[in-house]
């Protein structure tokens, strides 16, 4: 059996969104390569966890349930997955590109000597012909991602060494229930066989995790600012506009790097992916990594002093002008014309 596996992250007893998005993607992939979808959940107090997972069309759910396995730690989780994959020989393994997925996936890829592609923005099944070796490969996973500062889009394949592993950011894939009544099999792992004492040498002393407070992903309207906004002071205008028209505020990586806005609001390949009804890009030039996180917005307005800013090419309205002048006018005319 050579199936598609998804590592499901657990946060306070819930399978996180990105894992469910990957199960949805995984279900589509298994149809194309005629295999089955399997999921792995590692943690503690996981009774009934299958209820969260099976509706996404999971055929086999592997569960490692033991007190020491939550919260996440690299070594025990990596040990369990490495051994499980050695036994099960998956064809494809998907991880969320989270601080957990990006910590564990490379460790496992190194142990299994297989390939891993980080932060994929698209996963497609395709064939490959190796001219040098005169060898045909059927049904490989094309792992597509921007690279090199977003100046290129690379398609990566792992023809020889399996599993083919990839990480994907939250929000990049869509989450869809496959069948609410779907039932798969549960494989309860005997944890003792998958970990040893040395896997627990790292101790967590303290942990402060805040609940998600900013809901950019779910916002219908996003007012986003880039480096061109010019200052944290000018960003206040964006908050004002968002407040008036009922939206959230986001920023590009450049704006986050310049400390105009907090990291939690970063939109793009290395931040959040959004699909709002309206995206107002203020002083954002539009590097491909940024566009990867917002180009499916239904409508895009670009406000930029640079008439040939790359983002203008995907915008519906291009306003050539200074953010500090244009936004107060938008607020004014919105108030004047809305009832």
């Amino acid at each position: 059996m050579s199936n598609v596996f998804v590592y499901c992250e657990i946060d306070e007893g819930q399978v996180v969104d990105v894992s469910l998005e990957l199960l949805t993607k995984g279900k589509k992939l298994v149809k194309e390569i005629d295999s089955k979808l399997e999921a792995v959940v590692i943690g503690s107090d996981l009774q009934n966890i299958e209820k969260q997972v099976f509706p996404f069309g999971v055929d086999v759910l592997h569960v490692a349930d033991e007190k020491r396995l939550y919260p996440y730690q690299t070594l025990p989780h990596a040990s369990i997955l490495t051994k499980l994959f050695e036994e099960q020989k998956p064809q494809i393994v998907l991880f969320g590109a989270t601080s957990i997925g990006r910590d564990i996936a490379p460790r496992i890829a190194s142990a299994l000597r297989c390939g891993l592609t980080a932060d994929c923005t698209s996963l497609v099944i395709g064939d490959h012909f190796d001219k040098k070796a005169n060898k045909e490969y059927k049904g490989l996973l094309y792992q597509i991602r921007p690279a090199f500062g977003g100046n290129i889009i690379a398609t990566i394949i792992n023809p020889e060494m399996h599993p083919q592993m990839a990480t994907v950011r939250e929000g990049v894939m869509k989450k869809e229930i496959h069948d609410a009544k779907y039932k798969g099999k549960i494989n309860k792992l005997d944890v003792e066989k998958y970990v040893n004492k040395e896997n627990f040498v790292v101790k967590i002393i303290e942990r402060h995790i805040e609940a998600k407070k900013i809901n950019i992903k779910g916002a219908q309207i996003i007012v986003a600012g880039g480096y061109g906004v010019g200052s944290a002071e000018n960003f206040k205008l964006l908050y004002e506009l968002a407040d008036v028209i009922g939206g959230e505020v986001g920023g590009s990586r450049a704006a986050v790097d310049a400390n105009y806005i907090e990291h939690e609001r970063q939109i793009g390949q290395t931040g959040i992916t959004v699909r709002p009804k309206l995206y107002i890009a203020c002083g954002i030039s539009g590097a491909v990594q940024h566009r990867a996180g917002m180009d499916e917005s239904a409508m895009i307005i670009s406000i930029n002093t640079d008439p040939i800013a790359p983002i203008n090419a995907i915008a519906d309205y291009v306003i050539e002008g200074d953010v500090a002048h244009v936004i107060p006018k938008m607020i004014k005319y919105y108030k004047k014309n809305s009832k």
Binding site: T74, T155, I209, N312
Partner: protein, 291 residues
């Protein structure tokens, strides 16, 4: 406490903020030669963490290890100017085309050659690939724990480290036994600038290859000041199996490279004038995009 030994993994990266058209070669790989080369930003954050330990425990040795072409020796000099004790350049044509797995294999062998060590520290990721894979993969190859996303090394002794990690929605403080691999997040403090005294001291620090190009005037200098030697390590020096290096040692292959070309759609071009903005807001309200 015994003397601590820290190895900083640093990478010279093309400045991806300044990529011109001639940067891509026909085979889809990057022509690094035409791009400005810089010290990978998060590796500087990592160097700072190492130097802070040295500030506290002066008998600490900070070694910079980099893998790359000859000109990557610049990274080691940058490290020396800021307070590192010495550096090694892992360089060989046979490394060319290595993906993260092959790179971590080579780095792990080089690190073993420099053993014993207490802490291996690097940036979380390099700006040319943004993969964040080499740190964890090097840790796995060395068979030691990893602490990723470090924001601060809070305490260190000869047996363990206490590290504050920056996660997506919070922080975690962990205690890990050494030797350990730590990768540093960009939220960690920026690296100090060059120190004028070290700049003078290490200005002529060079690899063997670089020395071949200098004039004989410096021969005496290098003889008297052995600390100016930047040692080069080759595939043979680290005892690597070439099957595990370069393209043959890399499970990931680049199937296709697409340059980013933007497709323009029909946009309404507006100025910032009152009538233009009012017209747009009216349209947005009318078609229920807002309001």
């Amino acid at each position: 406490m015994k003397n601590l030994k820290i190895i900083v993994l640093a990478k010279q990266v093309p400045d991806t903020r300044n990529v011109g058209k001639d940067a891509m070669k026909a085979d889809g790989t990057v022509n690094r030669a035409v791009l400005p080369a810089i010290f990978n930003p998060e590796d500087l954050n990592a160097l700072e963490q190492a130097l802070r330990i040295k500030d506290k425990y002066s008998n600490t040795t900070v070694t910079v290890l980099t893998m790359g072409p000859g000109r990557a020796a610049e990274i080691i000099r940058e490290g020396l100017y800021r307070g590192a004790n010495n550096g090694y350049l892992l360089t060989d044509r046979k490394f060319a085309g290595s993906d993260t797995l092959a790179t971590s294999y080579a780095l792990a062998l080089a690190i073993k050659k420099l053993a014993p060590f207490d802490i291996i520290i690097s940036g979380r990721q390099a700006i040319d690939g943004d993969t964040a894979q080499v740190g964890p993969q090097t840790a796995e190859k060395l068979g030691i724990p990893q602490v990723t996303y470090a924001e601060e090394i809070m305490e260190v002794n000869d047996k363990e480290v206490i590290v504050k990690r920056r996660l997506e929605r919070g922080i975690e403080i962990v205690k890990a036994p050494s030797p350990v691999v730590i990768t540093v997040h960009s939220s960690a403090p920026a690296c100090r600038s060059r120190n004028a005294k070290y700049l003078m001291k290490y200005k002529h620090a060079s690899t063997v290859t670089e020395k071949q190009d200098t004039t004989t005037d410096y021969e005496q200098l290098y003889q008297n000041r052995p600390y100016l030697d930047i040692e080069e390590l080759s595939v043979n020096d680290i005892g690597a199996d070439i099957e595990w290096l370069g393209l043959s040692g890399s499970p990931t292959k680049v199937k296709a490279i697409e340059n980013v070309v933007l497709q323009a759609k029909d946009a309404k071009m507006l100025t910032g004038s009152n009538s233009d903005i009012e017209g747009m807001m009216k349209e947005l309200i009318e078609n229920h995009t807002i309001g």
